[in-house]
Symmetry: C2
Subunit: 234 residues, 2 copies
DNA sequence: GCCACGAATGGATCGTCGCTCCAAACCTGT
DNA sequence: ACAGGTTTGGAGCGACGATCCATTCGTGGC
């Protein structure tokens, strides 16, 4: 075996140590920049200039990584959202903070829906419960009330994630995409879909964030009404 | 070229004609029996004893197939749900019908969340709008009100789909799975999660269906309250 | 009666994915 | 110096969705 001068030595080791945290941060950057489908283990190895083994040494699997990224974003958000002094505004502020975070990171919305038992959603549920309790919701109605609000937030989060995915897949910019959607709605049969058809004119002035807030207000009003009226009939 | 007596003839053609509808029905059967991950094109070719080409001739791609299956289930459901004469009960009946359908076909919940612009959800939105209108919700508040309810339903649907996926992945039966979940909740830190911890005792007597209905009532009460109180301040 | 042509079909094949596995490289204590 | 454990890099596996093309069927024109 003579000239093995240039035998394919394996690549040198990374200088900075790898860690679960470094990997999660890199994952978040990929997710935010290119969407959830872009987070592949191969893309991660390229970005971190490492191999699969190194990553799987710190992370169980892709699901674990997505969950860790979601927990990270949600935990940071909840930490930043200091409790509003005004109890009546507190749930709104919390909900709006979640909404904004999910708009900024649509993949978080998808993940919360995919695995609702992970810490991220538990934290959210806990915070919502506390604020509803501070608002005067009786203990016996707390878990039901919190569930309604959390389910609503999850629903909106999921739709937001779906829209972001569709936008990314269409490879158009935001305004062109919205125009396409509006055009498709206008082509709907007004006989089969009278309500949807009527709503299409509002599409231009439509504001997702404001509509979300209206929904929160409706639910808060409903919680109040139900607990005031139905004060334990039994 | 002597003895080609047993040259590998391709398999004979199917006798009954293939069609988009036959394929969709087969997909629904697989989805109901084995969950959404089990719907692979290979499984479909086996079940239909055919090849990929035949399927892709009738169906654009896997997403198209899932959407078609969802549209089929939802359309059948909405057709069966004849309008309740009593307007106050109509939205509840609709919501409950959707809930039951999604419990029976958890993959429908996931798909509604994944692609909320497809006909299935449009139909749902339309029906909800009609019934809210019949209930006396003013036109200007219709789209917002319908959105809240639909988003809530979507949120619950998504959680249900997630639970079904987790149950299937765990390969346990339903009661063993619930016991595992309850055990995990009991191990939560009561200091960090006081509200969740308090709610754990209700887990035994917990009824998803009833909780869903409570949520619907809360939202309906909220819609009514908001529209009574805020009668156009401007 | 036959043939030509489009529609329908079966299956080999491709590229990509998540993940496993193992040897190489590194670290640490003795 | 060296042994044992930890961390790293990357070849390779099986499964997936999707494409592609040769084959086969059905059918309308002559």
């Amino acid at each position: 075996m003579g000239l093995m001068a240039t035998k394919p030595r394996r690549a040198p080791r990374r200088t900075e140590a790898l860690s679960r945290d470094v990997i999660v941060k890199a994952a978040i950057e990929i997710l935010d920049a290119e969407g959830e489908d872009a987070l592949t283990l191969r893309a991660l190895t390229v970005r971190l200039t490492t191999g699969y083994g190194a990553i799987y040494h710190h992370v169980a699997d892709r699901g674990d990584l997505l969950a860790a990224a979601t927990d990270d974003v949600v935990a940071r958000l909840l930490a930043d959202l200091v409790a509003d002094a005004e109890p009546r505004q507190a749930p709104r502020a919390l909900a709006l903070g979640l909404f904004d975070a999910i708009v900024a990171h649509p993949w978080v919305g998808a993940q919360l829906n995919r695995e609702p038992w992970r810490p991220a959603l538990l934290d959210i549920y806990e915070r919502v419960s506390e604020q509803l309790q501070a608002l005067g919701v009786p203990d016996r109605a707390l878990s039901d009330s919190a569930s309604v609000l959390v389910s609503y937030i999850l629903g909106v989060a999921g739709q937001n994630a779906a829209n972001a995915r569709a936008l990314a897949a269409s490879k158009m910019d935001r305004s062109a995409f919205l125009a396409t959607v509006a055009a498709r709605w206008s082509r709907l049969d007004p006989v089969k879909y009278p309500s949807v058809y009527k709503a299409r004119t509002h599409l231009r002035e439509h504001n997702d964030r404001q509509q979300f807030l209206v929904g929160v207000d409706v639910i808060l009003a409903g919680i109040e009404t139900v607990n005031r009226a139905g004060a334990r009939p039994a």
